[in-house]
Symmetry: C2
Subunit: 194 residues, 2 copies
DNA sequence: GTCTATACGAAGATAGAC
DNA sequence: GTCTATCTTCGTATAGAC
């Protein structure tokens, strides 16, 4: 019996996610995933008949799901302002600890999208949409009108993704810190006026 | 005498910028730049002794400079709120007209940064920094305290870049529109309280 | 599920002629 | 400044054995 749902398959997905966030989609080759994970060459197309595209697509979906769960957990536990702050804090830590090597795997794929692999764009879009909806639902639960909650959730994600990219290039947390400060201001007003 | 500062050199830089914004850094190969521009193969390393990395680096710098000039021009002509709105409007148009194919060349490079080519990250960082400083200067000129202007400028750029990435993946302008609306709200407060 | 071998193409870079 | 090889490396994908 196979090690339930295959060990090397999962390892490849994890490895692909890591490569995506560290080096981007273009650099996430099958070879590098194998080198990093030690997964067996011979079973790549057994687990991923769709080849590289399928591997990356599934890695993106997996990363997106994990992040969505984290968003849900944090938003359920804390008040919305604290929760948003803690997202930014987590990313700040992640960036510094990795020497600014780690970014967002979903954004990496979305930024390199081309027409030849529309599935990749779709999996990234699905992740973004799910994060946005999760965040919006919590905002609305705390009293924001639906349209406002939707817009603010979208902005938070966009600002976070954009700031992470800037931080990596500039090797500073300044963009992330600026975004966190100003978004807190905006959210404070939004929830006060509700 | 050479066509002042070489014609094919410039064409290659333009072509590289286009490929960057449409397909990302990984897909911006010398071959594709040549195919797109019709520039002569034999002179690549004559114009760009540093090879592909130098070509992309200069393309990013060039794109960054162009955008900085546009920011400066718009901010000088309009009041800051209108100006920010018009940036988002320009991007919205660009996305729709291109069928969501066109993104930001600077962000594309920044998102695919790896340790092997630190010059690329640096040129992207320089572009981001220049945009941010330009925007901040205008914000402060209109009355914002320096720290606030700096933060807001940074947020505007981060939100714009993040939203563009999301729009391309989702094939909607919704993220861009949401960001524009909420940033206008935030900026309105900031300039009113000044 | 995993192994080895291999076909095939794309890409970066260099050499030397013109 | 430009041209034509050519070397080399890497990456995808497939075939067929175990």
């Amino acid at each position: 019996m196979s090690p339930r749902r295959s060990d090397s398959r999962d390892r490849m997905l994890v490895g692909a996610s890591e490569l995506l966030r560290e080096y981007g989609a273009g650099a996430t080759s099958i070879d590098r995933v194998l080198a990093r994970t030690g997964a067996p060459r011979g079973s790549v197309y057994h687990h991923f008949p769709g080849g590289r595209a399928q591997l990356i697509e599934e890695a993106v979906t997996r990363s997106g799901d994990l992040m969505a769960k984290r968003i849900d957990a944090v938003m359920a536990a804390e008040d919305p302002l604290e929760a948003v702050d803690s997202f930014f804090a987590v990313w700040r830590e992640r960036l510094v600890e990795s020497g600014y090597r780690i970014g967002c795997p979903v954004a990496a794929v979305a930024a390199e999208t081309n027409d030849e692999a529309p599935q990749l764009a779709r999996s990234a879009a699905a992740a973004f949409a799910r994060w946005q909806e999760t965040l919006a639902a919590h905002f609305c639960r705390h009293g924001l009108p639906e349209a406002r909650g939707t817009r603010l959730a979208s902005l938070v994600i966009a600002a976070l993704e954009g700031a992470v990219i800037m931080c990596r290039a500039e090797r500073t947390t300044a963009p992330l810190d600026a975004a966190a400060t100003e978004l807190r201001e905006l959210l404070t007003h939004a929830f006060r006026d509700r």
